[in-house]
Amino acid sequence: MASVFTIDYHSGVPAYRQLMDQIKFQVAAGMLPAGTEMASTRILSAELSLNPMTISKAYSLLEREGVLERRRGQTLMVRAATPAEVETNKLDPLRQHLAAAAVMARQLKISREQSLKLFRETFDSPSS
């Protein structure tokens, strides 16, 4: 399993939350396809120098959300999502980013039209 996670301990965002977001992102982006086995809490804890409690919390919340599932006894793997779920999983992280961008636009008194235009331009410009 080739997955890389990085935790910014100083950001104040709880580590379990960062791990969940990164796993969700990698699942949504197809980097962790359905059926991929997740590293055990133990192994990931050693690999990332991360408290095992943090990892088991992230895993169990992702299981509850249906992103991961336990099969064949204990193995935790990426669950196959329905097309509707795939859509939601993709749009959610982008929506979060855009919500922050929208607040900033309003604070800076950038109009709706101007903001949308900017997003379009940014979207089309390569490697921005």
């Binding site: 950001s11 379990y16 804890s45 120098s49 408290n51």
Partner: protein
Amino acid sequence: MTSSPAAPFVADKVTKTYPGHTVFDALDLEIPAGHVIGLLGRNGAGKTTLLHLAAGLTLPTGGSCRTLGRPTVDLDTPELNRLGLVQQEGRFIEWMTVTQHLDFSASFYSRWDRDLQQRLIKTLELPVDRKIAQLSTGDRQKVGILLGVCHRPALLLLDEPMSSLDPLARAGMLDFLLELLREDGTTVVISSHILGDVEKIIDWVVFLDTGRAVENAPFDVLQESFAEWTVTAAAGGLPDTFSEPFVLARQGNDRLARLRVRTRDPEDRARFAQTHRAEIQSRSLSLDEMFPLLAGHQQEVE
């Protein structure tokens, strides 16, 4: 992970006084098993006293302490075998070499782990043939760590254990503490002012302030309860003061204010935005930033 459901340390209405000075007055505290617990607070908040009470090095003036299920006044070999204490400045037998001292200390424990000892000597790059008296402050601290952990305690108490270690040794030490939790389910209580280190490994916070435990909660719950809001007036100006009880500190002026808040209730935020006709950007706080808020030290309005 093996973790016992019983709390490895319980303080029951503990009072601790020294002549002319009260550290704790009826302190109630229960420390959960199988966590890495950050014992935090300002200087003089009672962190070292609490660790000494837990280790049985000092006894409460009133009330009682239980460590590993036994009143600390009665701690005996079975408990002491499962208890580790690393002090900021350990006391050693100065004329011994590091190796001699480790052998000497190992002889008191049935469960001394030689492999672990060798591995830590290597990780921490400890000069084993030198006499204790000739060691640098950092190397003395490393000896203290080895003496505190090689018997693989079930409860490990660390009082500023890394203050003199360089960043590489500290990183090795942090990894090792997580390993203890993974392998043995060790409960680790660590007091440190190097918050950037602590926040990498803890999953629980006990915050002492003027002799009271003002927090005893999972670290992520605390992280998710504080935020900084950057507030801008959407129309008109911001008021001089915000009366919402979750606003702990404020900087800024009537057009832009930075608030430190203790709420993550989206309704609080929505109501605040509506009441003050304001836009809010929220971000999380690091442990450094949370610290003054936990200590009840609120930044003044500028």
